[in-house]
Subunit: 338 residues, 2 copies
DNA sequence: TTTAGCACTCTTTTCTCTCGACTGCTAAAC
DNA sequence: GTTTAGCAGTCGAGAGAAAAGAGTGCTAAA
């Protein structure tokens, strides 16, 4: 709907603003981007782009900055999705080739690599419990009054928890627990660990309450606990000019430090492979100065967690999206091998 | 060595500065603290305290602020060690009564409680591996090609790790592993997991390399991995006036974000129960504007980790030290019970 | 030894002025 | 019809000056 030249100019303005963080003037555009017209022509076009809502002006006699709508158009239509160098590809590949034993470690490596390459702050959370099925449950006696329970799910995520008892536990009791829980839970979603199960075991199995009660309590905790938030490169954001504003810096810290907020931000809205939320598109006032880009760490359509970047609205979307696409692809390949 | 009145005045100045963050004038002291003399007298005393090195003056016509030496004297001689209310005692007690299964969880609860009460940023790390002895090692088969190894130490810390294999593992092999490792490691310090052990098992036990190699690799990782840094209330610090300075804020973020630095800060120097490092007393330029107060989470002289507070030099030492003392005591009682 | 009083110092705030960067518009050129 | 040169007008950033205010140090008296 925008004429070709308007698109070009809009792209040039946003690119310029992304790299300088300063309002962009008509003169600067003509100088630094190969546009075949004069600054006066640019000024006319800019005025129209502003009228159409793609640009803002901090004050009458200043250059233009992109509006929220401008960024949105840029992300939807103008972004380069292969803005990634050979060197970066090599670096990512080498990082992701690290042999890991726990799948969460792979998410962590991907997250820190993402931050290293983009120089923004990256975050990750594990998968939501809801979408995981139990493959196996194992109880192990530690000492005489302590059990470790290990729950293996079909995503490869392993949850382990420790259960303490007031009386000694026998090997036989451990075996019974193993039998009961595998019998009832194998193949079921994690949510099968709930009150009805507890009641069933109490009544039908007629099994010692002193043993089963602490186990169920702890299992419930594991199922209901929030996933951990993994954060990388928080300090990098503080080098950016927008963080000179105390309010912006404080909002940022607040955001990162509020686990519920991070979980909420990373857990909603996955219409596309890569999802971009510009400013307060997520209806969160604290986000007004920031953008969030997320993708799901997936394997065979199983959710292994969410990885994201949180940075200034003026973030290098092309680079971030390109790198994410590549990492996402590599993660998938990696899983398939092993 | 300081006359009584000088001490009183120094205390009043530091108390005042701690609560206002503004240079303290002679007038303000007379008004707000019950000193039986005029502002002129105070001015004379202040001049002497400054000459003796306890106070600084930002500029000729301003009030005084404590110098590093002033804070040091305050912490060593003037601090109130029971600056804790009944309400706070109740809150701490209730928090620490939470039944936990893993000891690390207790450290975490203590850390977050500390931050909640003092309103400063608190940090914690687990114990150093060096001081722990192995009580038991257990291998558990998960699926067909995966083992979980659990190492139980005498501090109650449980380390678990996952080991993946390229070929199937039999129950018999698991039993052999359990036998070998318990045999060699029970009662030994964690560091017994090292090259010589590996070589011994290779040569003397003549046990399949395909099995033992991944196990030793993963064990080595566990023994050598750095402890996790647990952080609570980073955003609270940003409400403080000193964080209006961009440089201070940046240094702070940098500090918290650099794991090695945090480990270093929390792992050295435990002459007393509670250790206070004012400004760059720890020879770290980044700390110039901050103070750190730490204590060891101990049980029967076993190190269960370190808990600390990192805040502005102008921190409420009396409150921080009092709360820490109480939490430390409670942690000890708690362990003794159960 | 303490205190009142006052001159002096230095910061903070406010105001004004100038400089410079851009824009928007008009009128001419293509 | 579109593009461009030119120029008036707008606004912010920065420099300086001036005034206000907070506090000290010193002197001399209590």
């Amino acid at each position: 709907m925008l004429e070709e030249r308007k698109k070009q100019i809009l792209q040039a303005i946003i690119d310029e603003y992304i790299s300088t963080a300063e309002p962009v003037s008509s003169g600067a555009l003509v100088n630094r981007h190969g546009l075949n017209c004069s600054s006066a022509t640019i000024r006319n076009e800019m005025a129209e782009l502003e009228k159409a809502g793609y640009l803002d002006k901090p004050h009458t006699s200043s250059g233009r900055i992109p509006s929220a709508q401008g960024y949105r158009f840029y992300v939807d239509e103008l972004v380069k999705e292969d803005d990634i160098s050979l060197e970066e590809i090599r670096y990512i590949t080498s990082k992701l080739e690290t042999r890991v034993n726990a799948i969460e470690d792979l998410t962590k490596i991907a997250t820190s690599t993402l931050s290293e390459i983009t120089h923004y702050t990256s975050v990750a959370i594990g998968p939501q419990n809801g979408f995981q099925n139990i493959e196996e449950v194992k109880f192990v006696l530690l000492g005489t009054r302590m059990l470790m329970a290990v729950i293996l799910t079909d995503t490869g995520i392993i949850k382990e928890t420790i259960i303490k008892f007031d009386e000694n536990i026998t090997e036989e009791q451990v075996n019974t627990l193993n039998f009961i829980f595998n019998n009832k839970l194998k193949g079921k979603p994690l949510e099968a660990i709930n009150k009805p199960l507890e009641e069933y075991i109490f009544s039908e199995m007629n099994y010692s309450l002193a043993v089963i009660k602490p186990v169920m309590e702890q299992f419930n905790k594991v199922v209901n606990e929030e996933s951990k938030v993994y954060l990388e490169g928080a300090n990098k954001s503080f080098e950016l000019p927008e963080f000179k504003s105390l309010e912006v810096a404080r909002n940022f810290i607040n955001l990162l430090d509020t686990k519920e907020m991070m979980l909420d931000l990373l857990n909603t809205g996955f219409a596309k492979d890569i999802n971009v939320y510009i400013g307060d598109e997520k209806e969160n006032k604290k986000l007004k100065d920031f953008s969030i880009v997320t993708f799901k760490h997936r394997y065979q359509n199983k959710d292994l967690g969410t990885i994201g970047i949180i940075g200034p609205k003026r973030m290098d979307y092309s680079k971030v999206i390109s790198v994410m696409k590549y990492i996402s692809k590599k993660l998938n390949e990696k899983e398939s091998e092993g």
